[in-house]
């Protein structure tokens, strides 16, 4: 599992995830996600290259999202594939962290 960040205009941080967000994938990026959550207030999680997510991967998204929101920030998910989105919806994560498929709407939701 790879994770990289990019600073966009308007103080938005794009976090690009790449790979399987399975048990090991979650362990590989948990610390980095928590560091980002402790420092950034507008986070766009780019999930276009996430091929798999399980319940351990959901924690990797929800825990930082709680920290960001607790600090008055915002977080959105961008571009999950059909099956990854089905997991997010089956666990009602989509009601807690908005999912966007248009990049501009994802950015607008953070402004």
């Amino acid at each position: 599992m790879q994770i990289s960040t990019e600073e966009l205009e308007g103080g938005i941080t794009r976090v690009v995830l790449d790979g399987r967000l399975d048990i090991m994938g979650a362990q590989q990026i948990d610390l980095k996600m928590n560091v980002i959550a402790g420092a950034k207030k507008a986070v766009l999680v780019d999930m276009q290259k996430v091929s798999f997510i399980g319940s351990m991967g959901l924690r990797t998204l929800v825990t930082p999202a709680q920290a960001i929101k607790g600090r008055g920030g915002k977080i959105v998910l961008f571009g999950p594939n059909e099956m990854v989105e089905k997991v997010l919806k089956s666990s009602a994560i989509d009601t807690l962290i908005p999912i966007h498929h248009e990049f501009q709407s994802a950015v607008a939701a953070l402004q």
């Binding site: 399987r20 399975d22 048990i23 090991m24 994938g25 798999f52 399980g54 319940s55 351990m56 959901l58 924690r59 929800v62 825990t63 999202a65 709680q66 929101k69 607790g70 059909e82 099956m83 089905k86 997991v87 089956s90 666990s91 009602a92 009601t95 807690l96 962290i97």
Partner: protein, 152 residues
């Protein structure tokens, strides 16, 4: 002899009870099965998800993170699809009687646990639990899309 012990060795996987082994071994095994049996990408994802959740529950709760215990997984082809049969030697536990996690009302109050079996119920077509003399057996059924269309 029951139908779950009639597999060829190629369709049986014995896994060591470590979380790292689940990520290392299971996706490759599923990939090979999907290729051999022309399993669709959606069904393959569902197999992948169900096994990750069921196996990680066995490792963390059934075996209480004690490594070097065995989990046996069998692929059983059937007329209308296939089943994955997961057997362990952990204390008796029927995961299907656990309650679904509450629907979170806000991010602040959301629990980050308890989603595993809930997801298995959502992604498998049927699940059965059987207690074993010294462990547990979970039978996870997947109906092939072609068969379900034919039935409709």
């Amino acid at each position: 002899m029951n139908s779950y012990s009639e597999n060829t060795p190629a369709e049986c996987l014995t896994l060591e009870s470590k979380l790292s082994e689940i990520s290392r071994v299971v996706p490759l095994w599923i990939e090979r099965l999907a290729s051999l049996h022309a399993i669709s990408d959606r069904t393959r994802y569902a197999m992948d998800l169900c096994l990750e959740e069921v196996l990680s529950n066995i490792v963390r709760h059934g075996y209480a993170c004690e490594s070097s215990r065995a989990i046996i997984i069998r692929y059983v082809s059937q007329r209308d699809g296939f089943t994955l049969v997961v057997e362990d030697e952990a204390p008796p536990f029927n995961p299907l009687i656990t309650e679904d996690p509450p629907i979170p009302r806000s991010l602040e109050n959301a629990s980050v646990g308890g989603q595993g079996i809930h997801l298995v119920k959502q992604f498998a077509d049927a699940i059965e639990y059987e207690p074993m003399p010294s462990g547990n057996r979970l039978i996870i059924k997947f109906i092939s899309p072609e068969t379900s269309r034919a039935v409709v």
